[in-house]
Every structure is written in structure tokens, then in C-alpha cells.
Amino acid sequence: MISVLAPGPHTTIQDSGRPGYYAMGLPPSGALDQYAHACANVLVGNAESAATLEATAAGPTLGFDQDVLVAVTGADVDVTIDGRPVETWAAHLIRASQQLTVGLARAGARAYLAVRGGIDCPLFLGSRSTYTAAAVGGLSGRPLVAGDTLRVGHEIAAPARPGARIDSRLRGRTGGEVTVRVVPGLCNYRFAAESMERFFGGTYTMTARADRIGCRLDGPSLTYVERDQPFGAGDDPSNVVDLGYPVGSIQVPSGVEPICLLRDAVTGGGYATLGTVISADLDLLAQARAPDTVRFEPVSIDDALAARAASRSRLREVRTNLNLLSLF
């Protein structure tokens, strides 16, 4: 058992997500930084399906009543075990009665804490991911509070390797100045051509209005192609007849402050969307925070798929490196 002594501002149980329920209005949820989440699991020898804790801005303080292997990845945070600093992106054995604290993020926005076996809680539609808007998954669909207890699961896939660490070359990025790749499309035709040049040529700043639903960015405003609005769309030129929103899609209500949707976003609505951030780069947005800067780069579907393959191969390299480690 793990006791939550202090929860942190927003700590939830997340796994790789709950695909398959878009048609019911249920977004996929899951860890916002999928790479950091997966690396935390790999470090402690967990199966891919194991749930981790996702901590935003600052992490929790946890008490343990059993020996367990832990790892913290993602944002650049101080992690201490009984007050003694330990390295992130590395596996540490924690003893029963010890306490672990994940501190304030110096860079990046979200830290992931994996325990060997995974965080256990009831599955909802095949996933443990917390989706607070519908109060499902995790612990009754809500963030952790002090006094909660967490069970350790049995989702193990590889031997325990205390001391294993991920090479700095293979660690994820934590904000700063990021460039994310976007496949233009969706309702792109609604935006004036020079607006698209402004969008892809400009620099945007992350605002403080960012959560698991999406993030708002400050920067050049955009204009729409003039038209008589079609029946059912609504009067504002940024309105369209309500349609589905992909995770990663970018909408610009009334032309100002683009919003990029993340994994807890509503599945649809009535704003024109100009394109979609590719899956590999959603992790970069998950770690960006005010006042980090974001530039958007248009790419083709072919480039998006190549980037996805590169991201998968990076995770394979992490696995291979850790497996080699256990041979020596």
C-alpha cells in the first residue's frame, strides 16, 4: 500500500488511455506525455498497460508500507527519498516505511511516477486513466487527495533492475522553445491563406490556461475566409456545424488565442480547426508551460508517420539499453 501524505496540486492515475469511445462522447484520456509515462514503466519493468501517477507542476509526497521499485520521469523535478535526493529517469528501490517526495518542476509541466507492478485501481472501460469531467477511472474519477491509499498492481513484464537509468540522450524534452509538427487539414479551408502563413511563421507563447483538456497559446491572431455562414453553423466566422475534434487539433475561437486540444478534451464542438499536432509531438506540448514558446511546423501525413516510427524506435532503444544493462 502507498499512502498519499500530500497530493500535489493535480495528481491523477493515468495509463496509455481508453480508446474506442469517441462515438459516446468519451475522450481517450491517458498520460499527456506518453513517452515519459512509458519510460517510467520500462524502468521498473512494468507492462505497457500499467498505470502511473501524473503530477502537474509539483508532485505528491507518498508513504510506503512495502519495498517497491520506483521511477520518476518527465518534468525536471527534485525527487527525494526520506529527504535524500535521487536521480530522475532512473529506478530506485524504496523500503517499507520510507517516504518519497516529488518536488516542484523546474522545467516541464508533468512528472510521471511508476511503481513496479503499476498503480492498481478498478478498470473503467479497459483503462485506469482518470477522466475528471465524467468522474470515471482512477480513484472515483478525481485527483489524489491527502489520506488516499493506492494499491500496487501486478502488471510486470521484465525483471527488476534497481539502479537502471535512461541515458540523457534518450530522455524526453522539458519545454523551453519547442517546435511541434502539425498536419494541416480538418477545417483549414476556413482560414485565410495569409493567416496560415502567419500561424506557421509565428512564435506562440504558452499561457497559464493549460490543463489536461488543452492549452491556450498567445501570439499572432488569425482571420477567416469570408462566407455566408451555412445553416446550423452559428454566426461567428470561426463557427462550423458541430463536428469531431481529434486529440491534438487546433482551434482558434474568434481568431485569437489558438487552443490545442489534449487527451481529456471534449470530443466535438463548433469551432473551425486548422490541423492536428502529430502524436509524437503531443508529448512536447504536454511538457510546455507558460512562458515557454511554441512554433508550429506544417508536415505531410508521410512525415507524420515517419516521425511516429522514429518515436517508437526511440522507446525500443530505451528497452534494449535497459535489457543490455541486466546482462552485465
Binding site: G25, V183, Y189, D242, G268
Partner: protein, 304 residues
Amino acid sequence: MTHARGGSPAYTTFPDGSRASFGGDEYIFVELDEAMSIAAALRAQSITVRITDLELPGVLDIAPANSSYLIRVDPEAIDPRRALTTIADVHAAGQTAAATISTEILDVPVLYDDPWSTEVCMRFRDGHQSATETDLQFTARINGFVSVDELVEAHSSAPFIVTFPCFKPGNAESYQLVPRERQIQAPKYLTPRTETPARAVAHGGAFTVIYPSSGVGGYQLLGRSAIPVVDLSQTTREFRRSPVLTPISTLLQFRPVDRAEYDEVRRLVDADQYAVRRAPVEFSLSDFDEDPVGYARSLKELLS
């Protein structure tokens, strides 16, 4: 088909005029029409049914919307470029919509002009188009009705069809089965409410929704449904088959009830003894187009 390189929008136009594009590496978005119509909604529904029937491995989600649809794939299991080609073939092969859609019509008892909606909406006049009227009075006036009763009569005169389940589980945008010139229309709040009673029946744009749970909302509040539309735990009788009451294509017949009947239905729902009145329907767009008023009446009669 060609896919444009980065920089220009990568649209593919299908033989039937639909416009398709990729949403990153995991999504395919197809827009059948830029305007809302029952025909476009039914076409989106029948095309997505045909795509579902293909049982393509690697397709994670098929989500129809009002006049468009979204498909999510796992690129490790299916190349989205290949999936797009398959979808294009479906559009090329199947002309317009299926002749009929197999669905159900549900009776939804509604307390229009209910005290909870009135109380909530009057607290949010700051973010509203009208400083003094209730949402119901405002919606009646801007649609040219002389009284609230006339709006209620119009809203409950013909069933609605669910065209887009979205926003949160249980919520479903539905569009009334009346000709376009008789569609009730209302703007959304200028600033959304931070509070909406659960089961509120509300109208925004040309769509009615029943809010599944309390929370934010921007649609005009017309009344309150006596029956719930979601039970994610699936423990109550109406939700054993599905956690949502009104999946896509469901027909909803709103029925005005008085406070006594509303309270009685609520009592039975709370005791899990209320059975929603429902009847199977083979909905035909051509029958509707031929005689909208008569067809709507015949659908309504299925519930009597």
C-alpha cells in the same frame, strides 16, 4: 489520390463531393457538407455504418457527427493512407444514404419552464443576450412565437433525431424532424454558464440536448427531463445494454408533463422502477420528405 506536402492543406475530394483530410497520424476527418441537414446527417450515419461493417483491423473509433465524421486508427495496425483509400471506396460505391435507418423512438417526459432552469438561467443574465427574459422566453421571442406555450408546442410537435453524441458521455445533439424553415434556432450564451442542472433540456444553434450531468453549458434552457440519459456504472435497468440512453440515430419525442407527473416519474426512476417508453422504427428520409408533418405524427403514434 495525392497527398500534398507540408504547407498546403492535404485534402482529398471523394467522388460524392465529400472532403477528407488527416488529423495528425491517427485521425481521418470527412466532411460531407458544410451545412446542417437531415439528409447530410443520415448520410454520415449510413456511411459510418458501412465502414463499421468492414471490420477493418486497427480502426479504434468511428464517430459520426452532424454532417461529418471522424475515424481514429492505430497506425501500427493500419496505415491511415490506406484506410483513407478504403473509405474513399465506400463513398464511391454507396450512392447517398441507406433507404432506411433502423432505430428506436423514445418518449422523454419534460417539465418545460421548470423552476430549476429558471433559477439557474436568471443567475447568469450577465453572459446572456437578454437581461430580463428567461432562456425560454428569449428563445420563443427570437423564433417569432407569441408565447412560451407556442414554443413548447413546436418543440414537442415532432421528434428529434440524434445526430452527434459529443461533449461528454450521454450528451447528444439532436435535430428536429421538421423542414428547415421550421427549425427552432437559438444562439449559445455569450459567456457559458458555469452551472447547468443535470437533465436540463436545452437548445443551441439548431440542436437540442439533454445535459447528462450538472456542469458548464451554453445552450438555452427550456426545461428538465424527468429521465436520466447516462449511467456509466450501468447498474440501473435502462442502461444495462449501453451506458448512454440516446446513441446516434435515436429518435427523441419530447412530451410536456406537469409537475405531478414529473415528480412521479422521478420517484420511479430513483427506485429503478421506471421503464422508458420506446418503440422500434425504420426511419425513412424519403417518407419524411414526402410528408414531414404526417410522418412525424405517425412516428409519435408509435409511442401511444
